[in-house]
Amino acid sequence: MTLLQLAGVHTYIGQFHILQGVDMQVEQGGVTVLLGRNGAGKTTTLKSIIGLLAPARGRVTLAGQAINGRPAYEVAQQGIGYVPEDRGVFVDLTVAENLLLAERRKGQLAARKAMLLELFPDLGRFWHQKGGRLSGGQQQMLAVSRALVPENKLLLIDEPSKGLAPIVVEQLAHAFNQLKSYTTIVLVEQNFWLASATGDRYYILDDGLTVHSGNMPDLIRDTELQARYLGVAAKGRAV
């Protein structure tokens, strides 16, 4: 079943025409990786889905329902969790408060806590620390956990590996693979290792357009395609 669909999405930031017709179809379950070099429009695509940016043209549908043009909080309530590029951890809030904030019903965090701690055992140690005191890796785990507090159909995760140590990236890969059975993930990733370790399908964006899509194993074999669109990141850095 198609969970998320983007059809001819055009998005402007101020005067600039950033997305110039993005098409995407995400089936339920698994990880869809969104690739493309810096400035290709990956972040803008995620923001256009969650509603932080309003597409000027085109349609975004979640499980058949149009969500484009709706305010971000309404889109999120449809069952989308968003982990932004800068992680969006609230530095003056404790880990517990950061997670509590994501509750859409009372008690959701309590019900989910065991699962989160199993996924990221570190979080338990920092439960009452301010978000600002966590390391980058811990912040990323918190940001992902926060998207897991309510029952989200879809997670949008923007470059989680950015600036993190290889060991943490491995931990994230493990977590994402575990989450596959539970939710659907759209993952923006420049780290080709993480992308190939978790991805099932891929889309490649270039200059605000979807230029390629297919199954991840095919892309892993196609080094020419990697070189053309993914530049440096396509060298397939081993961790």
Binding site: P71, A72, A76, Y82, G88, V91, E97, N98, L100, L101
Partner: protein, 306 residues
């Protein structure tokens, strides 16, 4: 000019006075601080909203008072505070919902709008209540003085200190211990991110604006036993609010409380030590803090709430 000797009991009195006045400043200023931290709106009409609260409060007070003597039972003052606060709440609600909201994307026009509101509110007050100052007689339970180290100290100031501490405690509780408070503190940092968690931040904006105006209105009415009500209040309040919030740091309730007490004490002590600078001292202090430490004297890291 000869300065009278500053004795220890006098020092204590000045200290207590400063704290009492500081409580008033806290009430008036805290709304502006949180509103700015959360929605980046500098509400220039904040002082005017405080003044409207004072006038409405006085009107409520008079409803139950004796027109001949101007006195009223103690509970009439409680009702006055409540009535003023309600007027402030409604005013804040309507302002945010219908005037501010359409302009969030145009920050310069937001400033212009709140400036225009000053004219509208101040002139409306003058239209309804006239321009001459009006007094409010302190109700029986709160009048008179008590003895503090041999110096008379007004009961009303004790009331102010207790009421102020109560309100500081309440805001602290709401901001630090409730879900709304978590949303406010998170929103001060990044309200877009709060939205993406499924929270309608706009609703919280309206609520905060309304409560902020209500607190300012309470501050307005609580001032009247000292100064009476008069149309120049709005400008006075606005300037004091700016001073407090700049000293304390925008968006922080604790900072606002500290900034308010700081200003109260400065105003009490400056005339004793530097009488020539008493009038400009606080404004200069504000300018210096803005230039040297724009995030406020009491903030640990950039902008923070709590």
């Amino acid at each position: 000019m000869e300065t009278p000797h500053l004795t220890f009991p006098l020092l204590v009195t000045l200290l207590l006075n400063g704290v009492a006045i500081g409580m008033l400043y806290f009430l008036v200023a805290v709304g502006l601080s949180v509103i700015f931290g959360l929605m980046h709106v500098l509400n220039f009409a904040h002082g005017s909203m405080s003044m409207v609260g004072a006038y409405v409060g006085l009107a409520v007070f008079r409803l139950f008072g004796d027109p001949a003597t101007g006195t009223a039972p103690t509970w009439a003052f409680a009702l006055a505070i409540l009535g003023g606060a309600m007027a402030g709440f409604v005013l804040g609600w309507v302002t945010e919902r219908f005037l501010i909201r359409p302009l969030y994307k145009r920050p310069i026009f937001l400033i212009l709008l709140t400036l225009g509101l000053i004219l509208v509110l101040d002139e409306t007050v003058k239209l309804i209540w006239g321009t001459s100052p009006q007094g409010l007689v302190i109700v029986p339970g709160l009048s008179g003085t008590v003895d503090v180290l041999g110096q008379p100290f007004a009961v009303y100031r004790i009331f102010l200190i207790s009421f102020g501490l109560l309100m500081i405690g309440l805001t602290w509780y709401v901001v630090n211990k409730t879900r709304i408070g978590i949303i406010i503190r998170a929103g001060v940092q990044d309200s877009d991110m709060v939205q993406t968690l499924g929270i309608n931040v706009r609703q919280i904006f309206t609520l905060v604006f309304a409560f902020g105006a209500a607190l300012a209105a309470m501050g307005g009415i609580a001032t009247t036993p000292f100064t009476g009500v008069h149309p120049a209040m709005s400008g006075d309040f606005l300037l004091k609010t700016f001073i407090v919030v700049v000293i304390g740091g925008f968006g922080s309730t604790t900072g606002t409380a500290l900034g308010a007490i700081c200003l109260g004490l400065t105003e009490q002590f400056l005339p004793w030590f530097f009488p020539r600078f008493a009038a400009v001292g606080p404004v200069v202090l504000m300018a210096v803090v803005l230039l040297v430490r724009p995030e406020g004297l009491f903030s640990v890291s950039g902008r923070r709430a709590g």
